[in-house]
Each structure stands twice: as structure tokens, then as C-alpha cells.
Symmetry: C2
């Protein structure tokens, strides 16, 4: 597995342990991780607290710039509209995606914002690692079991 | 002019005075403004600092909830992909839009995320106030004149 996606997956695991939907992301510049984050929507009580948004926020603060030129983002799940939009806004070079999100993904699943938006300069590549989709499958399976047992 | 769009426009004027692209937003619940914000991308050095994102962030913190159910947002300019996505994520009831953004708008201009995304529960309505588009036209005109005079 790509070493940066492995780190994004470590972030996803942190979310898993906090009972958050397990999605993780890292931003890389010059072959170094400059920010890392995982989904915290429930704990932060904030719909903006997706892994990619927290990660972009940290990277902007670190680089003291709104343009994340020369940066790539590795994310374990296909970004939603908000996150795909934020990635475009940040001018990130390439988004590497671990698993598809057929229900909410906006980089090929329900639409492709990076293609449709003619001003978008961000490229994308699917790595489609089984580990990135199975962590989500396991999470929701466990959640359903817990709910079933609690009835 | 609608009283809440008038307040969003006041926010846009604050951005104008700070040399930021003049876009403003307010979130309303039970006929009261619960958060207000304007674009601060340049000053904050952060691509996430669009009016809508700051406004949603404040509202989530105020309500201590990631779901902004029962809330409406008034924004002077058609939201970009990131902001339209964030509005969907927040479960806001209705987004009222002051002016169209033919280049970047994702609620009807380059695409319509609120229609395409079958899970979206947010409605939208265009109010198309001249004041909301002319503040932007004036801003960019002034910017061009300044640049011309500085050459």
C-alpha cells in the first residue's frame, strides 16, 4: 500500500475508535506529511468536521497560505461535494482516493466536480484499496449489530 | 429587500471594506439571526474562509449540533461547490441566494448540487437582488482601476 494512504488509513482508524465514521486524510508536500486528520463530525458537533476539511484547515495554517500549491491529499474515501469543493478551492495538485462512495461521492460517483468545473486545477487518482473500503464496511456492520443487540 | 438579505449584504460590505471579495451570509432560526459572516479568505490565509463556511461553523457552535435543522441561510452570492456541499451537510432548510455566480456557482450555474444529489434535503430560492450583484461588479471594477493606476 502507498505509504501516505497507509497514514491516512491510520487516521481513519482513530476515527473508528472514537465511534466516528472512519475516514482519514493526510496532506503531503515535498514527500512529507504537513497535516493529518480524521472525521470528527459527531464529537465536534460540527458538519464541517470531515477529515479533508480539518486537514486543509491545518495545512493552510501551517503554510500561512490559502493556496496549497505543490500539495497532494490522500483520503481513504471519495470526497463529498463539500470536501471535493474545498480541495478545488485549495488548489491542491492531486487527490488520491482510497475507496469509492457510491452514495455521496462527488469525484466520479454521483457527479465529478473535478471534471465538471472547468476552472478546477486538481487532478485525481483512485487507488481503490480494499482496506479503505473494508474499514467502513466493518464500522457500519458493527454499528448495526450494536443497535440490534440493544433492542 | 428581504430583511435578512439586507443583513447578509451588510456583511458583504464589511468584506468589501477589508478588500475581500464582497460576499456575506446570515443563518436564521425562528425569525432570528443566529450567525453572520463575510468572506475572509485573504486575511485569514485560508481557502475555507468563505462567508457560508464561517457562518455554518458559528451556527454549529452556537446550537452545539451538526444538524442545522429549522435553519435557513441567506447568502449574497450563489454558493461554490464547497459551500453548496457544506449547506447540504448542515441540513439547512432553504438557501436564499442574492446573485448568480455564472463562473463558480453550484446551485444552477455550472451545476446544481442541490438537485443532483438525491440525498440533499435543502431547498433553494433565488432572490436576485441588483444590490447583491452590483457590490461585486463595483469591487472588481475598483480593483482593475487600482491595478491600472499602479502600472
Amino acid at each position: 500500500m502507498n505509504k501516505f494512504m497507509k497514514e491516512a488509513l491510520k487516521e481513519a482508524k482513530k476515527a473508528y475508535d472514537k465511534l466516528e465514521v472512519p475516514v482519514g486524510a493526510v496532506i503531503v508536500k515535498d514527500d512529507k506529511i504537513i497535516s493529518r486528520a480524521h472525521n470528527l463530525r459527531e464529537l465536534k458537533c460540527n458538519c464541517l468536521a470531515h477529515a479533508e476539511i480539518i486537514c486543509i484547515n491545518k495545512a493552510c495554517k501551517k503554510l500561512k497560505a490559502w493556496r496549497l500549491e505543490g500539495c497532494d491529499i490522500y483520503v481513504t474515501l471519495e470526497p463529498c461535494a463539500m470536501c471535493a469543493g474545498a480541495i478545488m478551492q485549495s488548489r491542491i495538485n492531486t487527490v488520491y482516493i482510497g475507496a469509492k462512495d457510491k452514495k455521496n461521492g462527488c469525484v466520479g460517483s454521483i457527479c465529478n466536480l473535478l471534471k465538471e468545473n472547468t476552472t478546477a486545477t486538481t487532478n485525481y487518482e483512485y487507488l481503490e484499496y480494499d482496506e479503505c473500503s473494508s474499514i467502513l464496511t466493518n464500522f457500519f456492520k458493527e454499528l448495526r449489530n450494536k443497535k440490534r443487540n440493544s433492542v
